[in-house]
């Protein structure tokens, strides 16, 4: 098969993501007055962003969703200018940004890391476009800059340059580390940058702590908006399903093909099964995640909607309802036997972001997925301290540890074909 590179053009994946961004902005604009949104954005941009900073509590619903939509559009514009061909990994990266723009990533703090990745590409005499995927996911370390910039321990003439330099440094070292870390979990942790950022954050915070700088703990978590967000998210996810069904070019019965893949990195459903079936998968995964939060009596807010968006994004790049359900079950079973409740904030996040381990269920079976999630819910509660909340993908860090730990054990007890 002779492969000729097709000329670049905006494809349907771009249009879907642009529409998603605009829906975020429009929803935000309907929630607060323009003045409230501007003041809210001001508040979001001028506060530290370490875990857990629910932007709905910091700046209001309107500002949070406008921040999410605008930031998503900016990244889409960057991808377009770099002639990136959008497919499954793009959806995963972009929706991860949209989701975390409700609790940690904002119009200001992400660019230092992106610029650091850009500098790395120049240092390697490579085109920046080769590092776009790392740059997208690498914004997990966005709080590194703002934690220092808005620290009460340093005067601004020191904290601003130090914060900016720290953010750039994180981006600069991330590409080399991220690739190498894949070897540890063999692609069974979908949030590999989370694992990498966890290690980077741990080393970085250890150095900071040895100079007496202790990241200030934050816990902003809003409640009481479940009805409003349930309606919005249900319409959004049903919209994805209907659009997928309407634009499909194959029989609907072939949709089940999407369940035959393990989901291990890299499983790009847009490439493998096409965008329409991927959108249906995304919508179903979104509805299942939403149902889970409502059934356990959880809260729909910035962090949990961020978790749901991340699941929906990765339903284009490795997750299906079939492989995320065992993760929900594993975390739930853990909550029944351990010392915490199923709807405590950290456990809600452990279930949603623990779906990074979905490929374990896909490759080894549901029981193994449940077991991995059971372990994950304990590990994730112990690793946040290491990086002081500066790695937004804390569950990705824990999932990397869990996958790397369990994989050799699962393999040892699996029956070989021959």
């Amino acid at each position: 098969m002779e492969r000729k590179k097709k000329p670049f053009k905006l494809n349907m994946t771009y249009y879907v993501l642009i529409a998603f961004s605009l829906i975020q902005i429009i929803f935000g604009l309907t929630q607060d007055t323009p003045k409230e949104i501007i003041l809210g954005l001001q508040s979001i941009l001028s506060n530290p962003d370490t875990l857990v900073s629910d932007y709905i509590g910091v700046g209001g619903i309107g500002a949070s969703f406008v921040n999410s939509g605008l930031l998503t559009l900016m990244f889409l514009f960057m991808l377009y200018k770099m002639k990136h061909r959008a497919h499954g990994v793009t959806i995963a990266g972009i929706l991860t940004i949209s989701g975390f723009a409700l609790f940690g990533k904002n119009l200001l703090n992400v660019w230092f890391v992106v610029f650091g990745v850009y500098l790395y590409s120049r240092y390697q005499k490579d085109n920046f476009s080769k590092y776009l995927v790392v740059a997208l996911f690498g914004t997990a370390l966005a709080p590194v800059a703002t934690e220092i910039i808005f620290s009460s321990l340093l005067p601004y003439h020191l904290s601003i340059p130090l914060g900016i330099l720290s953010g750039i440094l994180m981006g600069f070292i991330l590409p080399a580390l991220a690739t190498s870390m894949l070897n540890f979990h063999q692609g069974f942790n979908l949030y590999n940058i989370g694992f990498t950022s966890g290690l980077v954050g741990t080393v970085y915070v250890s150095i900071l702590r040895s100079y007496g700088f202790v990241p200030e703990p934050r816990f902003i978590w809003t409640t009481g908006n479940n009805f409003k967000f349930s309606i919005f998210l249900t319409i959004l996810f049903l919209g994805l399903i209907v659009f997928g069904v309407y634009t499909r070019d194959r029989k609907l019965s072939e949709f089940k093909n999407i369940f035959k893949y393990s989901g291990r990195l890299i499983t790009d459903y847009v490439k493998l099964e096409g965008l329409p079936f991927t959108l249906i998968n995304m919508g179903l995964a979104g509805l299942l995640s939403l149902a889970y939060i409502l059934i356990i009596g959880g809260d729909l807010n910035g962090p949990t909607i961020g978790g749901i968006y991340t699941i929906v994004g990765f339903a284009a790049f490795g997750k299906t309802p079939k492989t995320i359900l065992p993760i929900f079950l594993g975390v739930s079973i853990g909550a029944l036997t351990k010392t915490w409740g199923i709807n405590e904030p950290a456990i809600q996040l452990a279930a949603l972001f623990g779906t990074a381990l979905a490929p374990i269920a896909g490759e080894f079976g549901s029981i193994y997925g449940i077991l991995a999630a059971f372990v994950h819910s304990s590990v994730v509660l112990n690793v946040g301290f290491l990086h002081g909340g500066m790695n937004l993908y804390n569950n990705g860090f824990a999932a990397g540890i869990v996958a790397g730990f369990l994989l050799p054990i699962f393999e040892a007890f699996r029956k070989d074909e021959d």
């Binding site: 098969m1 492969r3 590179k5 061909r85 080769k130 590092y131 995927v133 890299i266 790009d268």
Partner: protein, 113 residues
């Protein structure tokens, strides 16, 4: 670009892994590097019931080269023996041809420098 030859080695590992997966008992590998790039040919026999895997191989190797995917994920190629990363091989190569008959399959890969 770092690790130019190691990346080629990973591609060979991945295809070798695939040949094991379809039941190859005899595999031959031909490798050539010239000023333009790397030419890789792998040939092996296969179990007839695995023919569907060869159809999948043809599909996966038809994917366009994608440097941003390669730059991040290339370390995964050839690493895991229970599953394959053939789409990644497609994204790491500029040209691919697959020939097969009832007994053996031959895979030609080209990766430009």
């Amino acid at each position: 670009m770092k690790h130019k030859r190691k990346r080629v080695m990973k591609i060979i590992d991945e295809i070798t892994n695939f040949l094991f997966f379809i039941g190859s008992k005899k595999i031959s590998i031909d490798y050539e590097e010239n000023d333009e790039g790397f030419l890789i040919t792998l040939e092996g026999n296969y179990k007839k019931e695995k023919i569907k895997e060869i159809y999948n191989l043809v599909k996966y190797l038809s994917y366009e080269k994608e440097e941003e995917m390669e730059e991040y994920y290339w370390e995964l190629s050839g690493n895991y023996d229970m599953d394959t990363e053939l789409t990644l091989v497609g994204m790491m190569t500029d040209d691919a041809k697959v020939y097969y008959d009832d007994e053996k399959v031959t895979i030609f890969l080209v990766r430009y420098k």
